[in-house]
């Protein structure tokens, strides 16, 4: 009975709006007036042909999977380095973890000082080496790359500490036994370290993927979806559709789709990774 307060909160502020949203996604509600008409699956059909939405869907996948992939590589490398005997490794770990605690909005503002056109610190370097100023954010591909970069570096600390915790839980004797049997360094990594890191990897991939697919704040402050609509994620596009174009019904349909996508992707990934788990 003690969990009733929690269940009431979930019901009222998560599941009720979720169902309400599903209902709204079949209407043409504008978000302000009392009137709304049932339009069937029209909003969902419109999603399939809306090139701005399809672009946002593509970007969401890039942000989600791109960041997750890079974060695993960087996080694992950092964890392996910091797991060895190294002077000042606690300070290094603290610095790499630090950006996680800063709001994405502030992180975006800080990076903006670097990549701004007229006075940005990055362009100062370009000029110093005899190059030209570059309008970093006016090219879609570069802008997407910058967003992936910032998000990856801000949150790679999560993967790092998860892999570190995983590495520290592997008993030293596994390595000793394998070395006596004549295993090479790479074999040790491939046969012992990597398989035993699967649990850490499941957690790390899940956290990063959910975070990446939800990406909103950093896009808002860096590009606000531009140039044009080309760097929107589904999240920022929902916001635009609801508050700027006043199509609440259509925005709800995207919301339902985004939630379903995150649910399905996370489930599939967890099943895939869990089936490869090993025990020694």
């Amino acid at each position: 009975m003690l969990y009733i307060p929690a269940l009431i909160l979930f019901g009222v502020f998560i599941f009720y709006p979720l169902f309400l949203g599903m209902g709204l996604s079949f209407t043409d509600w504008d978000g302000y007036h009392q009137t709304k008409d049932f339009v069937g699956g029209q909003n969902y059909l419109r999603l399939l042909t809306d090139k701005y939405f399809l672009g946002s869907l593509r970007n969401t996948l890039i942000y989600g999977f791109g960041c997750t992939f890079l974060q695993q590589i960087l996080g694992l490398m950092l964890a392996l380095i910091l797991n060895s005997k190294l002077k000042g490794k606690n300070i290094a770990r603290a610095i790499i973890y630090l950006p996680i605690l800063i709001s994405q909005i502030i992180m975006g503002c800080m990076y903006y000082l670097l990549i701004e056109y007229s006075h940005g610190a990055l362009n100062d370097i370009m000029i110093l080496f005899g190059g030209e100023r570059i309008a970093w954010l006016s090219s879609t591909n570069i802008a997407i790359g910058i967003i992936v970069f910032i998000n990856t570096f801000q949150f790679m600390g999560i993967s790092m500490i998860l892999y570190l915790a995983g590495l520290q839980s592997i008993p030293e004797m596994y390595y000793e036994a394998a070395s006596i049997d004549g295993a090479k360094r790479w074999d040790l990594f491939k046969r012992i370290t990597f398989p035993l890191l699967y649990p850490a990897m499941i957690t790390s991939v899940t956290i990063n993927l959910i975070g990446g697919l939800k990406l909103f704040d950093i896009i808002r402050v860096m590009t606000n979806g531009g140039p044009g609509y080309s760097t929107n994620s589904i999240s920022t596009f929902i916001d635009l559709t609801y508050f700027d174009s006043q199509s609440a019904g259509y925005a709800s349909a995207m919301g339902v789709l985004l939630f379903t996508m995150i649910l399905v992707v996370t489930l599939i990934l967890n099943m895939m990774l869990k089936s490869r788990e090993v025990n020694y």
Partner: protein
């Protein structure tokens, strides 16, 4: 070969650290330079210009925003701890089918992106008068962070031996008494983690805070900085000063409680 990898590792670490610190460094130098100072942001200024901080406080209402964020964060975190621990207790002690379903529901709540429920949520909050009131945002923050709190408490309580409670039950204590007199006092270490993880999240939250507390005097920190930044795009000094003031509370806490932050994050991640 080993020597090469060691050198490569150190170099890699060094580059990663430089990348992580650069934005902070640039923000710091920009915040203490006057608008007319057009020297590169890489350069340390010859004299420190404090006016930017004054502008951020007076025109950006940064201190007022910090107050709003403190209210929302502290009240939310208090309830997240109480409601979360209460819910976790039966889930840890009794692994019935119903309890497993409740745990599943909790996992699903974690996956709901705020943007996908924003439309109906905003309309609903508008109807019940929760927009522009602290309690509206506080209720949402509690709800969104409860799952994490429930998992952390549940995992911790599972490791507490049942014998203590059984002894109390023989002495005639009921469930509520057992929870408050026996379980609660044991939860201190995990409560630190819950406070740190959920507190940081709420302090930094943007989109719901933006729409639930839209008026200028009620705005929390993150939306305030975002709007100040857009409005003062010609005065990056003041915008940097605002950003710095916004992160100072968390960074100071982190410097003193670093080991709890990192411990908490590992516990929070390895769930159920």
């Amino acid at each position: 070969m080993d020597k090469f990898w060691k050198k490569f590792g150190v170099a890699f670490l060094f580059v990663a650290i430089i990348i992580q610190l650069t934005p902070f460094y640039i923000t710091l130098t920009t915040s203490v330079k006057a608008k007319i100072d057009l020297s590169s942001r890489w350069r340390i200024p010859s004299s420190i210009y404090w006016e930017n901080f004054k502008v951020a406080i007076e025109r950006g209402l940064i201190l007022n925003a910090i107050k709003n964020s403190l209210i929302v964060t502290s009240v939310s975190v208090l309830f997240i701890c109480i409601v979360g621990a209460l819910a976790a207790y039966p889930l840890a002690r009794n692994k019935s089918k119903l309890n497993m379903i409740i745990l599943m529901i909790t996992v699903v709540v974690m996956m709901v992106p705020p943007l996908s429920i924003l439309v109906p949520l905003y309309a609903m909050m508008n109807k019940i008068g929760g927009v522009n009131e602290y309690w509206g945002l506080i209720l949402l923050m509690i709800t969104l962070q409860l799952p994490l709190s429930i998992f952390l408490y549940r995992n911790f309580i599972t490791t507490v031996p049942v014998e203590l409670e059984e002894a109390a039950r023989i002495d005639g204590a009921n469930n509520i008494q057992i929870f408050f007199k026996i379980i609660m006092p044991l939860l201190k270490p995990v409560t630190t983690s819950v406070i740190i993880i959920t507190g940081t999240f709420i302090w930094n939250e943007y989109v719901l805070s933006l729409y639930m507390l839209p008026s200028r005097s009620m705005r929390t920190l993150t939306p305030t900085i975002a709007s100040f930044f857009t409005a003062h795009s010609t005065n990056m000094g003041a915008a940097s000063a605002a950003s710095l003031m916004g992160m100072v509370p968390i960074v100071i806490l982190y410097l003193f409680l670093q080991k709890y932050f990192i411990k908490g994050a590992v516990e929070g991640a390895i769930k159920g």
